[in-house]
């Protein structure tokens, strides 16, 4: 401890003032050459190609690695989901609620209720990673606005997306596996 203390005092004694202002030359105090230099940079940018996008008129198509809102994959008119509840279990923000029920299909069970609270979702993609059926994937959709808390809870009506529209992401997932 004593050693620490002596080191601390040493350190404080050796401290210089934090802001050390450079003494300006009288020529630099005119600022005119600096302004001219700045204008030059601006002018050259005007004639270069644009980086910005006219959002929202101009939409962005994210790459397949993008993690937008999680959606349920719909295949042959039904969800792939078997309501195992692993996404709900792994979700760090407790955003997912699943209620299973029985179906006549060979998968035996399906989610009679599947809700994601998009106000809670943090777009981590754990649900997609843990899913044994590749039934929940991250989409390219990122524009989410609500005017009421209850609107933030997405049920199966909003979550189900046909498999054709999710080809990019599914292919990406297979590649990364």
């Amino acid at each position: 401890m004593t050693n620490d203390k002596s080191q601390m005092t040493n350190y404080m004694e050796n401290q210089k003032p934090i802001v050390h202002r450079k003494d300006l030359h009288w020529w630099e105090m005119f600022y005119i050459p600096q302004i001219i230099g700045g204008m030059k940079i601006t002018l050259t940018q005007v004639f270069r190609p644009k980086f910005t996008r006219q959002y929202p008129e101009e939409k962005w198509n994210p790459p397949p690695s993008f993690r937008g809102r999680p959606v349920l994959v719909e295949q042959n008119g039904v969800e792939r989901c078997v309501a195992c509840g692993l996404c709900s279990r792994v979700c760090p923000s407790l955003a997912i609620d699943v209620q299973a029920s029985e179906t006549e299909l060979s998968k035996e069970r399906y989610p009679v209720k599947f809700e994601i609270n998009m106000l809670r979702c943090i777009f981590c993609g754990f649900c997609e990673e843990v899913c044994p059926e590749e039934a929940i994937v991250m989409s390219k959709e990122f524009e989410l606005t609500f005017t009421h808390q209850a609107d933030g809870i997405f049920g199966k009506d909003k979550l189900l997306i046909p498999v054709e529209k999710l080809k990019d992401r599914l292919e990406f997932l297979r590649k990364m596996r």
Partner: protein, 559 residues
Amino acid sequence: MVKITIDGKQYEVENNLTIIQAAKQNGIHIPHFCWHPHLSVSGNCRVCLVEVEKMPKLVIACSTQVAEGMVVNTNSERVVQARNAVLEFILINHPLDCPICDEAGECKLQDYAYKYSVGQSRFDFEKVRKPKRVELGPNVMLDTERCIMCSRCIRFCDEVAKKPQLTFTQRGDHVELTTFPGEQLDNPYSMNVIELCPVGALTSRDFRFKARVWDMSSTDTVCVGCARGCNMKMWVRNNEVLRLTPRNNPAVNDYWMCDYGRLNTFKHVNAANRIKAPMVRKDGRLVEVGWDEAIAKVGFELKNFKKNEIAALGSAYSTNEDNYLLTKLMNHLGVKRIDFVPHIRKGEQDDLLIREDKTPNSVGAREVGVRPESAEFGFASILNEIKAGNIKALYVIDDDIAADPVIADALLKLDFLVVHASNENETIKFADVVLASSTYAEKYGTFTNFQGRVQRNKPAISTLEHDRILDGMALSRLDKFGAPNDRWTTGLKRDTRASWRILNSIAAVMGAKWKYNSCEDVFNEIASTISSFKGLSFLKIGTGGAMLNKNKETVTVKS
């Protein structure tokens, strides 16, 4: 007694034990599927292989008896390798069904595969396909593919339920579990095979796909289906009871529980006909009112009757504490007529668990004072006096007495009827005041079973009375971490109160000097005033229960 060495440590054990029993007694877990402490030894799963020095081959711990100087190794390289191999064989034809399997999370095979297996299969042929979704009986569903042929269920039916209904057919990897021709798995204890099944082959049809086990909280409590009082766990998600499973208590129910208790003692807790708030009859209709108004009304009305115009009916469905406070309130009012209505179904009893007394607490109710001093104050006379018009006010707790039409007729004669009820029933149709009482799943308390064993009951469902965390109730993951604005983590909380607490409030408005802050306070008073309860406390009762004092002769319930 013999001295044996397990994993380098010496133990002294009884000489008629097998290695697995000796290990279990000393806290060493040897993995097993087919062995069960209360069933005969079958020795077919081979996963309990251990190495015994001087024996050339590995032996199965479940059927090898201990001997003096035996040196057992449960974790040597040979054992680990053999266990691996056994699990690999079992997993060859076991489907990867975990996502759709109700057993997932409490599956022995899942646990062992994580703990003892290599985690990879070298077998890349098609798995053997067998029928799924086989309705084995009214309460049990079979998935033949998942079965690992341990035969526990078969042995249970043969040895414990004494109804041989299950058997294996075929050989090799074609073995299938089925019922005997023309039979169904419909014995009164059939659902115990669900817990016995180490995998998800046998599952509950009632609980099927209702919830994942890790989403529920479990509370150690007691069944109220009959006077046995089987120890059980109550599984709750989102403040709703979803299933009941037995809890081992060698003095009461071992590992078992009957199907009736398992299926019929919790549905009323979730039912839509629950009484949500106290009600008072105004202009012939029951109207929901606040607690203060209802309690004041009872106090005000009861004062208008002479003490011999009032009678009270306790309940064998209610806890000792509820009945004790009813007795105490009636003593305060000077009312002598107090009894309860027994619910005994003659002959509906067996040698294993089921009792013909269908209430959990008739011994307790009598012990704490819900008994007439003499026959002239008993239930039969109460009924006659009501019919004769001599009894004008009746106080009934937690029992649907009017389900019996004879009693219902008599209730019409009353001037004032107070009923504690949890669900809408026949009796509240006659009531002037209905006090919304908590069910056994929502309150602390004790029941006394037919043996005279006092057992504790704990709330698994929270009402407005409770705070799950502050009251130390069992918590599920969502109870712990869910936020109050999440609609799927809060569940419905009803405005009901435990009967003892309602009686406490009524006593206060009737001018009694006593007040109890918790159920434990009431029990402590019972323990200090009633000789048969002397020396008992919530702590002493614990999760296993404690017997009433033996110096008093056991009380038998008259039918």
